[in-house]
Amino acid sequence: MKLVTIVCEKLAREAVTRLLRDVGAHGWTLWEVEGSGAQGSRTGDIPEFTNIQVEVIVPPAVAEMLLTRLEKEFFKRYAMVAYESDISVIRREKF
C-alpha cells in the first residue's frame, strides 16, 4: 500500500477532501500544522495562515492518480507539497 501525504493551506481543505473522494480513497486522516516553504511561512495563528497535513492510505494505482491530479489541478493554485511512501498495512482489503 501507499501512504500519500499532502501538506497544504487550510483553505484548500474542501477541495482536497473532495479530490480524495473522487479518486476513490476510503478514508483520510488530517490535522493542522505550521509550515514554511516557497510561499512564505504559515504561522498557524489564524485560519488564513494555517496549513493542514492530510495522510491517506491507498493502493498504488490510486496513489499515482491522486498525485497526478494534485500536480495538474492544485499545484499552481495552492501552497502545497505532496509525496508518497511505502507502508504495509493490516487488513489490506480495507483500502
Binding site: 493551506e9 495563528d45 489564524i46 488564513e48
Partner: protein, 334 residues
C-alpha cells in the same frame, strides 16, 4: 475642526484597544515568542461576532423595520458599487492582473467586523451616541461584494481561456458568501437578538455586554501581531497598492458617511456607515476568494486589507470619518 480631529485621534489612540494593537505590532517587530494559539483567535472571533449580533438584534427588535430598511438597501448598494469602481481603479490605474483586481475589490467592497466594532468602541469612548442596530448594516454588507468580485474574476479568467463552468464556481462562492462562518454567526446572532429581544440580552449581558470592550482589546493585541507579520510583504505588493490601501478607504469612508446621512442616520450612525464602507474584509472575503478564485495571489489582498487598510482605519481612519460626519452634520465643537 482640525483641533477636533486631533483630539479625536488622541482619544482613539489612547484607548486600551488601540494601545494593545500597538503592543501586538511591537511584540512582532522585536521578535517576541508571544503567540496566540489558533483556538483562542477563533474563540475571540466567535465571541465578538455573536456579542455584536445579539446586541444589534435586540436593538432592531426595539427599533422596528421601518427605520432600518432604507439604510440596509443603501448598504447593499454600496457593497455592489464599491467593488466595481475599485476594480476599475486597480485594473486600469494600477495595471494589476484582472483576477487580482477582482480579488482585491471583493475585500474592499465587503466589510471588516473588527473595524466596525472598533468604531463603536471609539464612539463610546468619546461619548457619541449611535444606532445600536447598525450591526444589521454590517451583516448585509459582507456578502454582495464577494459575489461581485468572484463574478468579475471568473469573467476575466474566461476571457483568458479558462473553460471551467461558471455555474459551479458561482454557486460555491454564493454558499461561502452566505454561509461562511462569520456571516452565519453574525446573521444568526442578529436573529437570536431579534427573537429574544431586550430580555434575552439582559439575561446574558454579563457575558455578551460587560466584558466586551476588554475582549476587543485582547483581540486587537492579536490583530496587531497578525497585521505586523504582513508588513514584511509591503515591499512585495508595489507602491500602487500601498497608496490604494489608504486612498480607497478614505474615499469609500467619505462616501459612506454622506450616504449614511442621506438615508437618515444620526451623526454616530453615519460615522459607522462610513467606517463600514471604508473597511476591508479580512475574514469572510479571504476564505471565499481563496476557494472561488484560487488563481488570485493572496499576498496582494491580504497585505492590502490586513497590513495597510486595517491598521490605517482603526488608528487614523475612525477619527477621520467621525470628523467628516461632524462636518457634514454641521456640528459645532462639543
Amino acid at each position: 475642526m482640525n483641533a477636533d480631529l486631533l483630539q479625536a485621534i488622541q482619544a482613539n489612540l489612547l484607548s486600551p484597544a488601540l494601545l494593545f494593537f500597538v503592543l501586538g505590532v511591537v511584540a512582532t517587530l522585536v521578535k517576541s515568542d508571544l503567540k496566540f494559539p489558533e483556538p483562542l483567535y477563533i474563540t475571540l472571533t466567535i465571541y465578538l461576532l455573536t456579542a455584536i449580533g445579539l446586541k444589534g438584534g435586540a436593538a432592531l427588535s426595539e427599533a422596528g423595520l421601518a427605520k432600518v430598511w432604507l439604510p440596509t438597501l443603501a448598504g447593499i448598494a454600496l457593497g455592489v458599487v464599491i467593488p466595481l469602481w475599485t476594480y476599475a481603479a486597480l485594473r486600469f490605474i494600477g495595471r494589476l492582473p484582472a483576477v487580482d483586481a477582482a480579488a482585491i475589490c471583493a475585500h474592499y467592497g465587503s466589510v471588516s467586523a473588527v473595524t466596525f466594532i472598533a468604531a463603536t468602541n471609539f464612539l463610546k469612548q468619546i461619548g457619541q451616541p449611535f444606532e445600536d442596530y447598525a450591526t444589521a448594516f454590517l451583516a448585509v454588507m459582507e456578502s454582495p461584494a464577494i459575489i461581485v468580485g468572484v463574478m468579475l474574476g471568473k469573467l476575466a479568467l474566461r476571457r483568458e481561456g479558462d473553460a471551467a463552468p461558471l455555474g459551479g464556481v458561482i454557486k460555491g462562492a454564493l454558499h461561502e458568501a452566505l454561509f461562511g462562518r462569520s456571516v452565519v454567526l453574525l446573521v444568526g446572532a442578529l436573529a437570536v437578538g431579534i427573537l429574544s429581544g431586550k430580555k434575552g440580552l439582559e439575561a446574558t449581558a454579563g457575558f455578551f455586554v460587560s466584558p466586551f470592550q476588554g475582549v476587543l482589546a485582547l483581540f486587537l493585541l492579536e490583530m496587531g501581531m497578525v497585521a505586523a507579520k504582513r508588513f514584511a510583504d509591503l515591499k512585495r505588493v508595489g507602491p500602487f497598492l500601498l497608496v490604494f490601501g489608504i486612498v480607497a478607504p478614505v474615499l469609500n469612508g467619505i462616501a459612506g458617511v454622506l450616504i449614511g446621512q442621506a438615508v437618515g442616520l444620526s451623526l454616530g450612525g453615519a460615522t459607522l456607515f462610513g467606517t463600514l464602507a471604508a473597511s476591508a474584509s479580512y475574514i469572510a472575503a479571504p476564505a471565499a476568494i481563496r476557494l472561488s478564485l484560487p488563481e488570485a495571489n493572496p499576498t496582494f489582498y491580504l497585505t492590502a486589507a490586513l497590513g495597510i487598510t486595517f491598521p490605517f482605519n482603526i488608528t487614523l481612519g475612525l477619527p477621520l470619518y467621525f470628523a467628516v460626519a461632524r462636518w457634514a452634520f454641521g456640528a459645532s465643537t462639543p
